[in-house]
């Protein structure tokens, strides 16, 4: 079975951290270009690291507008997520040139995995002199339509 944006949704969910966490937003990022194949228990997935867009931001002292969402995308592309290909195969995730096993759970309609950014040599985003940060662990979800 082939999957991709036409029949499923791949999202990344970040949480804010740090002393000034209240000023930040928990983000939902949609991966717009990816493909996967599932053959029994064997799943492989490839995603374009330049295709993450901000679809939702919860919390904060003001709500996120389109300008802020665009600015976050730019920050992800330029400062956080390197352009190295993202690939999941055989229980191993390759991200930023680092390959490590990750635990994926799947309940029939939704797959979930937690990814620790620093495990993949990604420096979690930090602002306001380090008082506002993105938590190291982000959650990835893939959900089939219908």
């Amino acid at each position: 079975m082939e999957y991709g944006p036409h029949n499923a949704e791949l999202t990344v969910h970040t949480k804010r951290a740090g002393a000034a966490a209240k000023a930040g937003h928990d983000l939902t990022l949609l991966v717009e270009r990816w493909s996967a194949t599932a053959d029994g228990d064997t799943v492989t997935l490839e995603a374009d690291p330049r295709s993450l867009t901000v679809v939702k931001g919860e919390g904060g002292i003001t709500s996120l507008g389109q300008d802020e969402k665009d600015a976050i995308k730019q920050t992800i592309d330029e400062d956080v997520l390197p352009a190295e290909p993202i690939r999941y195969a055989g229980g191993q995730l390759t991200l930023n040139g680092v390959t490590r096993p990750i635990a994926v759970t799947f309940d029939g309609t939704e797959g979930r995995a937690e990814i620790k950014q620093t495990d993949f040599k990604i420096k979690p985003y930090s602002a306001l002199f380090g008082t506002l940060k993105v938590a190291d662990v982000v959650e990835v979800k893939v959900r089939t339509h219908g």
Binding site: A19, A20, K22, A23, G24, H25, G60, I61, T62, L64, E68, K69, A71, I72, T75, Y125, A127, L128, F129, G130, T131, L132
Partner: protein, 142 residues
């Protein structure tokens, strides 16, 4: 009100430090996001500070003025009076510099209202502390 105390080191003599902290064109840009908009006099400037919080930012605009100066003791108070340009809040502070050879002490009394204050006093204190620590490292190179 939030009160904070910090020290800074410049490695320069007291007379140099005294001239530096009273020179608003030099000291205001030492605050991250701070810039002079217009000098009103030797001791007063219109200024703004843009505080970036990730993709969001808050801009406070107002004045910085030397309201007290003791040239013999090398003690001065700079008063910051500013309004949040994106809301109804304000950020005011009286910053007291007491200099010695090689550096000095900074005592800050700040009052913040509006959106920034809605994060809670503990958060405001932590962020201000981080802002002033950063300021002291920039003062070191003034």
């Amino acid at each position: 009100m939030v009160e904070l105390d910090h020290r800074f080191e410049t490695g320069k003599d007291e007379a140099y430090n005294w001239d530096a902290i009273l020179d608003l064109d030099r000291i205001i840009p030492c605050v991250e996001g701070g810039k002079v908009l217009e000098r009103e006099s030797d001791e007063k400037a219109k200024a703004e500070i843009k505080v970036k919080m990730g993709a969001m930012s808050m801009t406070f605009r107002g004045t910085v003025e030397v309201t007290e100066r003791d040239d013999a003791a090398h003690r001065a108070v700079l008063a910051v009076r500013s309004k949040d340009m994106g809301g109804s809040g304000y950020a005011n502070a009286d910053v007291t510099f007491a200099l010695g050879d090689g550096g000095g002490a900074i005592h800050t009394e700040a009052k913040i209202s509006g959106k920034a204050a809605s994060m809670g006093e503990g958060v405001v204190q932590t962020v201000l502390d981080a802002l002033i620590r950063d300021f002291t490292t920039k003062l070191a190179a003034i």
